[in-house]
Amino acid sequence: MLYKIADLLVEIPDAGGMSSRCREYRYLDSGKPDIIIDSSRYRNHYQIENDDNLIAYMESARQFLTKLIHFNGIYLHASAVEFDGRAYLFSGPCGMGKSTHAKLWQQTFGSAAQVFNDDKPALRRIDGQWYAYGTPWCGKDGINQNKKVPLAGICFLQQADRNEIYRLESKEAVKYVFSQTANKFRKIESLDLMLKHVECLVGEIPIYLLENKPNVEAALLSHKTMCSEVKETEI
């Protein structure tokens, strides 16, 4: 079945429950796919037993997200929040509090803050602007909105006993980004293409490190810092 994900036409086989998972992204016209997912290449790399749906989820994600590099894009393992028409991403390893922090924004700012992807939003640079997109690969809570939102900032999280936020220099930021866009590239050309996108991203989007306790003050701090950056840029 044909879907539109991150402004790309993607053919994804129905196997493994993907047709219901991707329902919000269905593309009803005809068109030539930009990306074709091949279910015959699904492999269980994950020590999962007897769960074809989970394997289909992980493998279709892997194929799509790897091919994004050919379309001026990468993905980030992050929770994506839309606030005031801009996307703010909270990233870090599993268990570092990305979802929690994104939900704190919702809790603190109400319906003005909407989590639109809780696992792997796609990022693409189109006409000089970076966008964050919802994707069907949205994590176990299923928070998933088919959205395209101009990207305003990325914040890496670390657990701490206090709340403090730092703007990262590009050379530090690249390491954090690499650690959360883990991917296996068999070809050097693919790696080099990804590097080109990451270098561009850290040069154009503010990247922060937030050491935090999972409390409302942390959300207020990240919000104040990241949103004021946007206001300054617009003046």
Partner: protein, 88 residues
């Protein structure tokens, strides 16, 4: 000593980072980055070289003492051995 196959160095955003083509990217702590002097040593090791060659490369480029150059080279090689990207 030589850098093992599959490990490559790339310059990005003003720093140099080691990538491993054979495995997925590691956690943040495992990502090896270096500055220009490290990159100089890496490039020597990429072709295969001895500790003396590394020491001499540092002396030639940075005008440091023999002792200092040898020490810096040893620390660098030790780090690469720890990551597992060098073969002796």
């Amino acid at each position: 000593m030589k850098i093992k196959e599959g490990f490559i160095l790339r310059e990005i955003a003003g720093t140099y980072i080691v990538f491993n083509l054979k495995n997925t990217m590691v956690e943040l702590d495992g990502i090896l980055s270096m500055n220009a002097s490290g990159a100089l040593l890496w490039n020597c090791l990429d072709k295969g070289c001895t500790m003396d060659i590394l020491k001499d490369a540092l002396i030639q480029k940075y005008d440091v003492s023999e002792d200092r150059a040898m020490k810096d080279a040893e620390v660098f090689v030790a780090k690469l051995l720890q990551i597992g990207c060098i073969e002796e």
